[in-house]
Symmetry: C2
Subunit: 339 residues, 2 copies
């Protein structure tokens, strides 16, 4: 048998074991994906969806597992989130979501009524998104494993336009649009997990964003690249894009909307909302001269920055009092198991 300790592309003296941070949406996850998974497999795009050329047309194909705890939280549950997450991954590639699969890993002893509640939530979310759940799988593991249930949803979608939405399509001068306020999903999970009472109820932003993307495309916006702001939040998404596109991005802190209650909750817990996960927010890179038009299509959105130049991967943010700081990846997510 070959010696896998010799060939392993992750340095085993530094990382002999998988850490929680390897799933956290930060630097360790990026390294694991790029050094280990991408080295062995054939990733077909620099986004969450593979884009496959099939008999003259293009097909998007994506997969996502959901291990969020607790299963139910303010504003959503693991079922609706499993539908939204995969629909959103397809939408970020520019594809129109078509069909999903649903694979369940169930824990022995899970109340049947809980399973039904999750399944009904998935079905309702799929109807609302205009996608069908067409195939599935069921496994059961012993008590103590799987925290009730884990769900994998994979999805396929098709393209109704010729745009190629990926970091490599970004151009100097492009505007960066943020589709809404940030930080709610992570803080909603946190409050329900820890039983924290904040000054007001924070609900998750978990929602499908395919409609917003279709509205931008339908309005003639020449989108360059989209990314949803899940694990690692806004900051990690922009750093990832900056690294992939080798683009220098300049952000304006005051343009990034964070609700006052979310900001207060983050402060109490010592978290930076820039890195807190969202499940219904995305950034869009688009030509600067279409920025006003894009905002008129999505009034809740704002322009939070620009692509300053290409050639150098760097993200900086200007504070309201004029200072500038560099935005980088964290090693992992501040909050584990949020999706």
């Amino acid at each position: 048998m070959p010696d896998f300790t010799l060939s392993c592309p992750i340095p085993l003296t530094t990382y002999p074991h998988v850490l929680m941070a390897h799933g956290g949406g930060g630097r360790l996850m990026r390294n694991l994906i790029q050094q280990l998974f991408a080295a062995a497999f054939d990733p077909q795009s620099d986004t969450d969806s593979a884009v496959l050329a099939v008999s003259g047309s293009r097909l998007a194909f994506t997969t996502d597992s959901f291990v969020v705890t607790p299963l139910f939280f303010p504003g959503g549950d693991i079922g609706s989130m499993a539908v939204h997450g995969t629909v959103n991954d397809l939408a970020m590639s520019g594809a129109t979501p078509h069909s999903l699969s649903a694979a369940f890993i169930l824990e022995e002893g899970l109340p049947m009524e809980t399973l039904w509640r999750v399944v009904e939530s998935m079905a309702a979310a799929a109807r609302a998104c205009g996608v069908r759940i067409v195939t599935g799988d069921t496994k059961v593991v012993e008590r103590g494993k799987a925290d009730g249930l884990y769900i994998n949803t994979s999805g396929i979608g098709f393209f109704e336009h010729a745009l190629v939405l990926e970091p490599a399509s970004i151009r100097a001068g492009d505007a960066i649009l943020l589709s809404g306020d940030i930080g709610r999903h992570g803080m909603a999970i946190m409050s329900s997990r820890e039983g924290l009472q904040f000054e007001s109820d924070i609900t998750s932003d978990s929602a499908p964003v395919a409609g917003e993307v279709q509205a931008l495309l339908g309005g003639g916006i020449q989108l360059r690249c989209l990314r949803d702001l899940t694990r690692g939040g806004l900051a990690s998404a922009l750093v990832e894009i900056s690294l992939s596109a080798r683009a220098r991005l300049g952000l304006t802190e005051s343009a990034i909307q964070t609700r006052q209650d979310v900001r207060a909750a983050c402060e109490i817990l010592g978290l930076d909302p820039l890195y807190v996960a969202n499940e219904g927010r995305f950034v869009a890179f688009l030509p600067a001269d279409q920025a006003d038009q894009a905002i008129s299509i999505l009034p809740a959105a704002s322009i939070i920055g620009h692509v300053e130049r290409l050639g150098e991967p760097l993200v900086t943010m200007e504070s309201p009092i004029g200072g500038s700081r560099i935005i980088d990846l964290l090693s992992g997510e501040q909050l584990p198991r949020i999706c």
Copy 2:
């Protein structure tokens, strides 16, 4: 909030909780899928793959999670099995497998070298099957969850012929072909799990069967229906088909090949090889007048029975001494966590 205990389609007084048998490939899993999942979702075929009509052509889409324990066993591992299982599900629909996704749920503390070994095994299996792993996902859960790792592979494939392979295509008189000997996967898992020493080493039959299906199709065999013999084994697969097609199937026990060591191991453990899982075997329903030709294409296969008539779901098996017995579903799998 609606009362989910009232609407739950599974009788909660009988099954208030999920049992191991709900994932076992027998009657309880069938009920869970048909009564609960199919009621809420939109399954697109009576096989493991959904078949979708897309701009004039047909696409197969399937998903499978793998929770096998142990991760490595004689003749395979969770990685190669995750590729073979999904490739085989696509092949059973008659599609040519094209691309796979790979989603990992990793347990904190998993040795990185073990992950690499599994990933390398997946990559090698994918190359051998002529499919690409094009997209993926990584989650990490705390120690004590997930038994090292769980894998979901979803897959898409395309059709190079016009046949519709499903139970409804079966005709009275059709021959039933079994592609090889049965029972090896389950007994290989059992021997490695329990540290049992049988009279000889039993290795899993885990293998892709897409090539065998292509050979049958290429040879002009007018296949009606295919099914791989995973959880629940040969018996459960045939009963499922019989129920879906409302077909009476007559089997000849002496035509079903079981290796002597597998039979002996089953006897020691009190298991019936008819219900033991396989990962590289399938049954094919085909016109009786093409049976000889099919066997000449797949010399390791045998004709194990026929469709006696339509209208009545029943599976009977004739013993070597002439008796006949009814083959039915077990409540679950005899061996949990075999895939």
